[in-house]
């Protein structure tokens, strides 16, 4: 009995306004957004290449002292993620580059300023379309399925035959879903054609698998919202009330819960701002520098006498060896202490942020929309996982540069006990700037994405199963009078 019911559901949807309307909406929006975002992505790639080239050129023509003085910053650029054409995620709010300095990495500018003020409403990308448009349309369509048939009276006609209610519900789910899934498939394929025509690296590396995952995750998400609509429809006597209820549910799930979860996490577990942490680190550096300066000033006066000029002249003279040993020892000790204390602050902040993000993330999983966003942005390498990877890469590169470059540049400041100070810079050994390690950010692999998104996947599957089970219970008792 399932066959005729499914066929009827598909046919009914296809010959009604729903199928063409949904087809027009998705076939217009999805390929257009992919096309526009692909153009933007190409621009970002071109900007990125140009910036990397200019930075290389600047490095080739620079002297070590320029780097030391900060006049030629060592920059590490964040390469645009190809799949950001599907979901911008953090892409535009992350620093485009970091400047690596002896004092630590410094954030460069973001791309947010390049966008219109309307981008505050959310970037018009595939993720936005599925989240905000497709989910709502699917929910509204599904909310018509049971209540609509009741209003039409056809539900009584069906139930006057030997058809079990669960069979009818299952047919509505399968047939109705196929009727919204087909337009989505068409729109998605059109989008892929648009991307291929624009020479997007669709078949490069892990992209085909990622795109397939995006497709599957979206299908699951649409199915989940469709089932939710079915539940509402099987719980309300009229189409009008079903539609009002679906709108309210959609607002809560899509808009309220994700925003509230961040707020609740911030209230329940406050974390220092980045500015405060940065100030703390600066204070540590300043305090240690001062301490080192005082120690070296005291030792310098003891060895060379009060008023002896600070010089980096390596010509042997009495006390020079002792001074070099003390200075080298102090440099090494203070570098270690600085690194240690700065790391402690950073680690503490990272841990606090992680706890806060875990609270917010866990709460937001109550919303299938938030779970879907996390999953898709992570697949597209514009989510939290790649954000974390970028920051880790920056931290790692800074450590690499500290060892390979900054540790060989020594700035000595002496603070004398009697007042006054003197400073000088010296380079320990000759460093070939052309052979400095280059900055690179690894993308999250698909297994990392899946491992990091079990919660998101389970949230969507939970919503799907729970809503279908509830719809089943409601429909068994549905009053068809």
């Amino acid at each position: 009995m399932l066959g005729p019911l499914i066929k009827k559901e598909i046919l009914e949807n296809i010959v009604s306004y729903r199928f063409p309307l949904f087809l027009v909406i998705v076939a217009l929006l999805i390929p257009t957004s992919l096309y526009v975002n692909h153009l933007e992505y190409r621009k970002r790639v071109s900007d990125y290449s140009e910036q990397v080239r200019l930075a290389d050129e600047a490095l080739r023509s620079s002297r070590l002292i320029d780097i030391h003085m900060g006049s030629i910053p060592l920059k590490g650029f964040h390469p645009p993620a190809p799949l950001s054409v599907f979901a911008g995620g953090f892409e535009n709010s992350l620093p485009r580059y970091y400047e690596f300095q002896p004092a630590g990495p410094k954030e460069g500018e973001t791309s947010v300023g390049d966008e219109s003020v309307l981008s505050i409403l959310g970037k018009f990308d595939y993720l936005f379309i599925v989240q905000m448009v497709v989910s709502l349309v699917v929910l509204l369509f599904a909310s018509n399925l049971v209540a609509g048939e009741k209003e039409l009276g056809t539900l009584r006609g069906i139930l006057s035959n030997s058809v079990a209610r669960p069979t009818i519900l299952l047919a509505k789910l399968i047939g109705g879903f196929v009727a919204v899934w087909l337009p989505f498939i068409i729109a998605f394929l059109l989008g892929m054609i648009v991307l291929s025509a624009g020479s997007f690296p669709l078949l490069t590396g892990a992209n085909p698998l990622s795109v397939l995952l995006i497709f599957l995750a979206t299908s699951l998400f649409i199915l989940m919202y469709f089932t939710l609509g079915l539940l509402v429809s099987a719980s309300t006597p009229r189409v009008g009330s079903a539609q009002v209820a679906t709108l309210l549910i959609w607002i809560v799930l899509q808009l309220v819960i994700p925003k509230v979860s961040d707020m609740v996490a911030a209230l329940a577990y406050p974390v220092k701002t980045e500015t405060v942490v940065s100030l703390q680190k600066s204070m540590i550096v300043k305090t240690l520098e001062e301490e080192r300066g005082k120690l070296l000033g005291r030792e310098y006066e003891r060895i060379f006498g009060r008023g002896a000029p600070l010089t980096t002249d390596p010509t042997p003279r009495p006390g020079l060896n002792e001074w070099n040993t003390i200075k080298s020892d102090a440099d090494s000790r203070f570098r270690e202490r600085k690194a240690d204390q700065v790391r402690q602050v950073e680690d503490a902040h990272r841990r606090e942020k992680h706890v806060q993000q875990t609270i917010a993330g866990t709460l937001s999983l109550l919303s299938p929309g938030a779970a879907f966003t996390r999953l898709i942005t992570d697949i597209c390498a514009t989510g939290e996982i790649d954000n974390e990877k970028y920051r880790n890469a920056v931290s790692l590169h800074q450590q690499t540069l500290d060892a390979a470059l900054f540790s060989h540049i020594s700035k000595t400041t002496l603070i004398f006990p009697g007042g006054g100070s003197a400073s000088s810079s010296s380079i320990g050994e000759l460093i070939d700037l052309q052979n400095l390690p280059t900055f690179s950010v690894g993308r999250a692999t698909l297994s990392e994405v899946l491992n990091g998104n079990w919660g998101s996947i389970l949230s969507i599957i939970f919503w799907l199963l729970a809503t279908f089970a509830l719809a089943h219970v409601r429909f068994l008792k549905y009053d068809v009078r």
Binding site: G3, V15, G153, R156, G157, S160, N161, S162, V163
Partner: protein, 236 residues
């Protein structure tokens, strides 16, 4: 074939819609249920199709309990409502095809659908026309065609002639008489006293959920059904 034994229904709000109804309709018999709105006629039919569950008694179709084995029971009955429920965007044939498949008949060909539609008096041009363009009379005829193709021995009709013009109502009644001759047991709720007297083998009058009168055609021959109906309606 169609049997109610002490059938009762009390809704959640406390309203007693049906109070110990007893009736028995044999094959080849038409039973007309008369009564004002809210008398319990539709509730009775709803109980036979398990649209709602009884709070007491039993509804049987061909001896099968409609509450305990609803799917089995529904095999023995076809349903035609006041406003035949059809898919407006489907053609007449598509509607027939869908509902007959639901009734378990999957081997029918297009010509067989056409034949039944001719039988019920639908014009040829309507066969492949969308049902949303149909008049109420045409929809009722299509409803009867669906019921006929189900080939169920019992037919339950809920005010099927309500709103039909006299010609369409007369044609509809003719169809019912044909089905009666074929041996169907027919339960029809109606407000149409004259039509009831014309075709019914048994007439029952319901008031506030109670079957207050039941008379056979022979018993009614000497009586004026309209006066009888009004008399029963006035008695409190």
């Amino acid at each position: 074939m169609i049997q109610a034994i002490d059938l009762s229904k009390r809704y959640e709000d406390g309203l007693l819609a049906l109070d110990h109804l007893n009736l028995n309709i044999n094959p080849g018999q038409i039973y007309c249920l008369l009564g004002a709105n809210g008398a319990g006629k539709t509730t009775t039919i709803n109980l036979f199709f398990n649209f709602i569950e009884p709070t007491g008694g039993t509804a049987l179709l061909n001896g099968v309990d409609c509450t305990k084995r609803p799917l089995d029971a529904k095999r023995h009955a076809a349903y035609v409502s006041e406003n035949v429920m059809l898919y407006g965007n489907f053609t007449a044939r598509q509607n027939l095809d869908f509902f007959t498949k639901l009734a378990g008949r999957k081997d029918l060909k297009k010509e067989e659908y056409y034949m039944v539609m001719r039988q019920v008096g639908l014009p040829e041009r309507a066969f492949e026309q969308r049902v949303k363009t149909f008049s109420k009379g045409m929809r009722q005829k299509l409803g009867i065609a669906i019921a006929m193709l189900k080939q169920a021995p019992a037919l339950l009709l809920d005010e099927p002639t309500s709103g039909l013009d006299p010609k369409a109502a007369a044609e509809f009644v003719e169809l019912l008489l044909t089905l009666k001759r074929e041996g169907k047991a027919i339960l029809m709720s109606t407000h149409d006293i004259f039509r009831a007297k014309e075709i019914a083998d048994v007439v029952g009058i319901m008031k506030e959920g109670v079957l207050i009168m039941e008379k056979s055609r022979r018993e009614l021959e000497a009586e004026d059904l309209e006066k009888l109906y009004l008399k029963y309606m006035e008695v409190s």
